[in-house]
Symmetry: C2
Subunit: 317 residues, 2 copies
């Protein structure tokens, strides 16, 4: 059942012992949204905890003071944040699928799996919605919460760059900075700092870039060998996918990452002319208009063939 | 004489036949600021024209409809925008030095060369100040003006990334988007589109990156040979300088660009710990706390030695 911000805030205020689920391979938005909510609930004297199928990345949590101090309790209310489908919960799906009370999300492709759903597909980040929820709960946003929310907004918009960024996004950023968000530090850590291992991986990625359909499709393949050669890992690949779409003339950018078990996943980036979510849906995935993802049970070369064929078809080539 | 926004707006409203000067090697902020003012003055029925020692880059002007339709007239009032010192006017300095009536700027290093100066060193971009001037003149900001102003703000902050970005910057962006600024297109063109020639130049730049002082200094040298090999040119080098500071552990990033005559200029990027404007001042240059520039009469190798020695000294190495 779809609900609005007021109803959502009211519901959260009435509950206690709240378990918050983020999606697997956690990005800045799901992490920021989860911890912002958790910290806000704790300010209301409630017990709350954030969990994830994968480990939280220190790059995010280090910027949210106190976020990892979480109590143990028997959960009474389960909330998912920035999770479009239950299978994006990863291994947590086994335990929690079908049991989620509330979902707060900004994916138009949300499957409505939760009992209650607060959805705004026009929000550039789930954190943009969460600001309103926290304010509606009557909680004053302090620096740790402001940082958590700012992390979500800036990472999901590529630092206010992507087409999903609206005047509301910029206004939310202004408000969070006034409330203490360390925008300069956050943006430097998220976007202006390349570890040596990432820099090495990026160089390999750019060297191996392939173009198809008269350069309208760009493919980057990130293999396990490349992780080994660069000393990098999947955790550092977030900044790779945008590189495909940055190349002149490219309308569809595909970044195929090989997993340890030899299967792979693909991040899709598109310009206005192609709907990335629709493209990903062909392969059972989902996402947004210009950024989406899907998984494959096959290896990278086979996935590449399937993806390039479909992308060429979409472009009418 | 320093003046405030109201006085500046009042002065401009009283004048006609206004010549607007941008700095040489025009960036998005000087161009955006100049054309925003020009278009606003034209909406008040005045004659105005923007000139520059170098050619305007189509990447900017193409996004400001109508900006290049400028009347000829005998100038009665001369305004410089985003120009910290008269020698930054390039070849225009010969004709206009000592004759500038009004300067609108955000460089703390402004030398006060103009008769009247509207300065706000806390503004992330000169365009952030220009919004206030245009509003104080009573001109409604339309799409072309909003685009011009948004270009200045987003390019001077690296798309809202740099430490200079404040809540006022985000708020200004929100306002401009509501007034019609094409934020998605502008940010894509400015930051998310690498021409093939630029991509080739960037690859050469990264391959040639050098580190000094235990990796706390990063140097990129861009030579005329590299332009020839990549098919790129100086016009496309704006995005190179930030690469130096992005490398893990780097506190001072130096990008030395060789000019056609064999002399060179250096872009300096720093973290909080080092004042870039002070560093540049050692070599007769200027700029902001974390981004500055200076010129050399010698070749790139000699300049590199001087720069690395000074940078090492600053870092206490």
């Amino acid at each position: 059942m779809k609900i609005n911000v007021q109803k959502c805030a009211h519901m959260l205020k009435e509950k206690d012992n709240i378990l918050i689920l983020t999606h697997s391979h956690p990005d800045g938005d799901t992490v920021g949204c989860g911890f912002a909510l958790c910290l806000a609930l704790k300010k209301l004297g409630k017990k709350a905890r954030v969990i994830c199928a994968d480990e939280f990345i220190p790059k995010y949590t280090a910027l949210i003071p106190g976020c990892l101090e979480m109590p143990e309790f028997e959960e009474e209310f389960i909330v998912s944040v920035d999770v479009a489908t239950e299978n994006l919960l990863g291994s947590l799906a086994d335990k929690y699928a079908g049991k989620i009370d509330l979902c707060i999300d900004h994916h138009g492709t949300n499957t409505g799996y939760a009992k209650y759903l607060l959805l705004n597909a026009d929000a550039a980040a789930a954190c943009e919605i969460m600001i309103k929820v926290i304010k509606a709960m009557g909680v004053k946003i302090d620096k740790p919460i402001a940082n958590a929310l700012f992390i979500g907004i800036t990472t999901d918009t590529g630092c206010f760059r992507y087409a999903s960024t609206t005047s509301n996004t910029y206004r939310a950023a202004a408000e969070l900075v006034d409330l203490g968000a360390d925008n300069a530090t956050i943006n430097r850590v998220m976007f202006e700092t390349k570890t040596k291992t990432y820099a090495a991986l990026e160089r390999l990625a750019i060297e191996g870039m392939q173009f198809f359909a008269r350069d309208r499709i760009c493919v980057i393949t990130v293999t396990q060998n490349m992780y080994a050669e660069s000393g990098s890992s999947e955790v550092e690949t977030e900044a790779i996918a945008p590189l495909t779409r940055q190349q002149e003339g490219v309308e569809i950018g595909l970044t195929i990452r090989e997993k340890e078990d030899g299967t792979c996943k693909c991040s899709i980036r598109t310009l206005d002319s192609v709907n990335a979510a629709d493209f990903a849906a062909v392969f059972g995935g989902g996402g947004h208009k210009q950024a989406a993802a899907c998984r494959f049970d096959c290896g990278v070369e086979e996935a590449k063939k399937l993806l390039v064929a479909k992308a060429s078809e979409i472009l009418g080539m």
